[in-house]
């Protein structure tokens, strides 16, 4: 009759073990409060994310020139002294009152002259100059003259008036920095399929690169004014979300308005007798005016920050221009935003974005490479599939 004996703990363990193996009482529904107390996951990754984003921005800003202009730098010598191509000797001399001096950056020489006088070209020797260009009056100052086979005054004395024909121009290489632009939409929610639609506005700026061969300098360039309405352009997005991923179709515009001065590398010298009266650059004011409309497909990943009820993320996409503009390229995106729940199916989001292009928009005439970037704000609705 006795099933258990004193100290027969194993029997008791077996029995209790069996009895409690299927013990499944009704449990309380504490899930919401439990999840509210759970700290945002992956705290350990926050710092790497911030660091990597910073590193990414830095690397983008310092992208080298080479990917943007394949042939120019390699096929043409960067600086070709003009006199080697067009010796300044035996230049026909025409007018008596003016001479034109072509500026090749560090080497200045008389190139050509025409007119009834038809004197032989005069070699002026090579007198090296540096110049300082002031935006206000474009006055060119001859800063240094040396290595001349003859004194400048003597050279000028022998030169007959010149008329400018073809000015051979090239400037020293200069790589110049500048400014930017914006874009997309998103809001993620894990585990549910949802659809988003949003509109936004972006301000576009540029990182400008001017190649050595171009007769343009950054001092002469006026980049987009952030506050001018023409630099603010709309964007529209449609997306589908699952978990924290989003696939997004986007339409956005950006306007490329840039004013700049194209120097022809020459200065005109008016003089009476032996004295120089004025020296000024010869060039023209140019303007880029075009509106580029882009359509693209973007993939984005967001990271919810539950503690502060917001999210941040990054994405990338391929964009191509509509219409005649010949532009296509890869854009990246960093964003952060906040969700406002309207009801169990709809959610309103407001999102700040930083969009940047990995490819330059090339100005066809002067080979000004401008990489657009945008700062923008977007808002829209998300609908969760029931």
């Amino acid at each position: 009759m006795t099933m258990f004996h004193r100290n027969d703990d194993d029997e008791l363990r077996d029995l209790l073990g069996r009895r409690f193996s299927d013990f499944e009482p009704e449990a309380p529904e504490f899930l919401d409060s439990i999840l509210d107390q759970v700290k945002p996951v992956r705290n350990g990754y926050k710092i790497p994310i911030v660091k990597s984003v910073g590193l990414f921005i830095l690397s983008w800003l310092s992208l080298p020139l080479s990917p943007y202009q394949p042939a120019l730098l390699s096929s043409e010598p960067a600086l070709q002294p003009a006199r080697e191509e067009r010796p300044a000797l035996n230049i026909p001399i025409t007018k008596a009152q003016s001479k034109t001096v072509a500026d090749f950056g560090t080497t200045t020489t008389v190139t050509e002259s025409t007119g009834p006088g038809q004197g032989r070209a005069e070699r002026l020797a090579s007198f090296v100059t540096t110049r300082e260009v002031k935006d206000s009056d474009k006055e060119v100052v001859m800063a240094e003259v040396n290595a001349a086979s003859e004194p400048l005054s003597a050279v000028l004395e022998r030169i007959q008036p010149l008329a400018v024909k073809n000015l051979d121009v090239s400037l020293k290489p200069r790589v110049l920095a500048s400014r930017s632009a914006g874009e997309n939409v998103v809001t993620p929610k894990s585990g549910r399929l949802s659809f988003t639609g949003g509109i936004g506005i972006n301000n576009t700026q540029y990182v400008v690169t001017i190649l050595p061969q171009n007769p343009v300098t950054i001092q002469d360039m006026k980049l987009p004014d952030f506050w001018k309405s023409v630099n603010w352009k709309p964007q529209v997005n449609l997306g589908v979300d699952y978990d924290n991923w989003q696939l997004q179709l986007s339409y956005r515009e950006f306007t490329q308005y840039m004013d700049y001065w194209v120097t022809q590398g020459a200065i005109e010298v008016d003089y009476h007798g032996d004295s120089i009266r004025s020296i000024r650059p010869i060039g023209s004011s140019e303007r880029i005016e075009r509106n580029i409309r882009l359509i693209g497909l973007n993939a984005r990943k967001s990271i919810p920050l539950k503690k502060i009820n917001t999210y941040l993320g990054a994405g990338a996409g391929y964009q191509m221009a509509l219409g005649k503009e010949n532009y296509r390229g890869v854009w990246g995106q960093l964003f952060t935003g906040k969700n406002f729940t309207l009801n169990d199916k709809f959610l309103l989001y407001v999102e700040g974005q930083f969009n940047f292009s990995f490819n330059s928009v090339l100005h066809p005439e002067h080979q000004i490479y401008a990489r657009p970037y945008q700062i923008g704000i977007t808002t829209g609705l998300r609908w969760y599939k029931p």
Binding site: M3, D9, F20, P25, A27, I34, Q37
Partner: protein, 198 residues
Amino acid sequence: MGSLTPQESQVLASLVPGCRNGDRRAQTQFYNLCKKRLFGICLRYAGTRSEADCIFQDAFVRIFAHMHELKDAEHVFAWAKTTVIRTAINYYHRELKASRELVSLDSAVHDTADDFHLGIVGQLEMESLVLLINELPAGYRMVLNLYLIDGYNHGEIAKMLNITEGSSRSQYARGKTALIKKLEQIGLKKDDYVPQKR
């Protein structure tokens, strides 16, 4: 005890990555799959239902917050069960130990309760059995649960409860005797007991 079927184990393991990433859907599924079994453990270790609720909630917070520390997703349920037990022990240390319910070995009274009564355990409704365990002093309850039901040995129990191994044995002996007394108190006598076929 409380073991899962292979299918359930697979499902739980598949939910681990989502839970680690804060995926609410995965967390909800995980909660729903485990809540009854884990709450059963909480009920055994707690003195009252409200204590069990408290331990249950704390345990799940710890499970979700520390799931990234779990190395083998296949063993997630065993890990969760251990987390619940440790949470209960922490609760005991925090809330109950001040009342000094554990008695030292020297002062332990070795009851000579009739083990015959223990057979009654096999016949009790689960709710009644849990109630009996709940009514035990916290120290006894801890040791009985750990030793008899969850399978820890006295060395492990001593470390968990921060007592000596001798104290663990003592508490176990006293707890077992107290449990038998409880059985008698609720009116179950030797004559009412029908032994189990084994």
